[in-house]
Symmetry: C2
Subunit: 221 residues, 2 copies
DNA sequence: GTCTATATTATGATAGAC
DNA sequence: GTCTATCATAATATAGAC
């Protein structure tokens, strides 16, 4: 199922494929590997990921994968990095479409929740750290700092427009907020892994929790 | 390192050890196996538990363990059941020592949090369900129903004494409450696994979250 | 960039001697 | 209730042919 195109083009032109074409093909294969890896994690658990199973599903022999990733941990790292980028982009878009302040904060967290239930396995990898001996590379980790920055910005906006009190500017405000979304997500993923955001017993609690934010960071009298 | 006592007593009396003595020794070994299993999970992750490693640490050969547990999953189930009993007992005690109602609810949840950070690996097994193909047996699962019952009772008490509004009697109130403790715990375990309850960035948020309960279940006007 | 072959290591589990 | 020996399986990873 692979190589047909490349061989055809090579036979047709008589020359080797253009470098960018080869590079693009390589990127496609990498993307396919990561896609399959996500499927495997969803089916077998985050720890159940194995290069052997990925190779089986891709229809190649395990050693071939080492041309694309130097180790299993490198695959985890790529999944982590891509997932983190993906969730941050999703949150950023959702926040940009909402009024700055509390609405944007809630929209961003809700987008994070929706994404996490739609990408359960990667969300576990990102937020639960279930793989021993796996530490995300510094570059991967950088994106999670961006996530905190996003939330801090929205909290500051909410203070600026008078929706929240000055407590929301404190350093730990973001930890309180992230515990709220983490709680809903953990319960949903652990107890109702098949249900999307908005269904089940836990994610519908999210809007109610968000309505508590003004009480958590009260305006000064 | 074992067997010395039994051989001595057998040699001394000339007869076989009394059945209850043998049974007690067996229970001690089972307890020791579970103890070591907890250590292994703490060190290698919940999924890193293996009978081979337990046997190594216990100083026996792997097949010997099958005299005590029929499979690895049976060990997980025993850990699950014991952990669930343990955390429910801890919560029950903490709640009994507090005023019925909101204080008891908070004391129970706080005890659950303290226990979970002190028993990280088992808490992950209980609340995250990270082991694929592991379903707790019905008996094990029964204790987690008791946990819900405890919380519902405290919520009802809080309504009865006028601390919370009637919303706390609704079926989903316990899901909201459990999302609060789950959020703090998830963040603490994932990001600061070495820190006990009360330290770090997340578990100190718990009292602040509990102070939001009256706003979550407001009294009628 | 794919393959075969292989090294190395590990696992869960069973049979059967003692 | 312990052991040795073994089965069956699986994993990551490397060497080297094509």
């Amino acid at each position: 199922m692979t190589g047909g195109q490349a061989i055809t083009s090579r036979a047709g032109s008589g020359g080797p494929p253009r470098p960018d074409r080869r590079a693009r093909r390589r990127q496609e294969t990498i993307a396919e590997i990561l896609d399959i890896a996500r499927d495997v994690m969803t089916a077998e658990g985050v720890n159940g990921l194995s290069l052997a199973e990925v190779a089986r599903r891709l229809g190649v022999q395990p050693p071939s994968l080492y041309k694309y990733f130097p180790s299993l941990m490198a695959v985890y790292d790529a999944l982590f990095a891509q997932g983190q980028r993906d969730v941050v982009a999703t949150m950023t878009t959702a926040m940009a479409d909402a009024d700055p302040g509390l609405e944007a904060l809630i929209a961003g967290l809700e987008a994070c929740g929706r994404w996490s239930l739609a990408n359960r396995a990667v969300a576990e990898l990102l937020f639960w750290r279930p793989v021993p001996n796996f530490r995300p590379s510094p570059e991967s980790f950088a994106a999670s700092i961006e996530m905190v920055r996003l939330q801090r910005g929205a909290l500051a906006d909410a203070v600026a427009v008078g929706q929240l009190g000055p407590g929301a500017l404190e350093e730990d405000a973001v930890f309180l907020v992230s515990a709220l979304i983490a709680g809903v997500l953990t319960q949903a993923i652990a107890n109702e892994p098949e249900l999307p955001w908005g269904e089940g017993r836990f994610s519908p609690m999210f809007p109610r929790l968000m309505r508590l934010l003004p009480a958590a960071f009260p305006l000064p009298d």
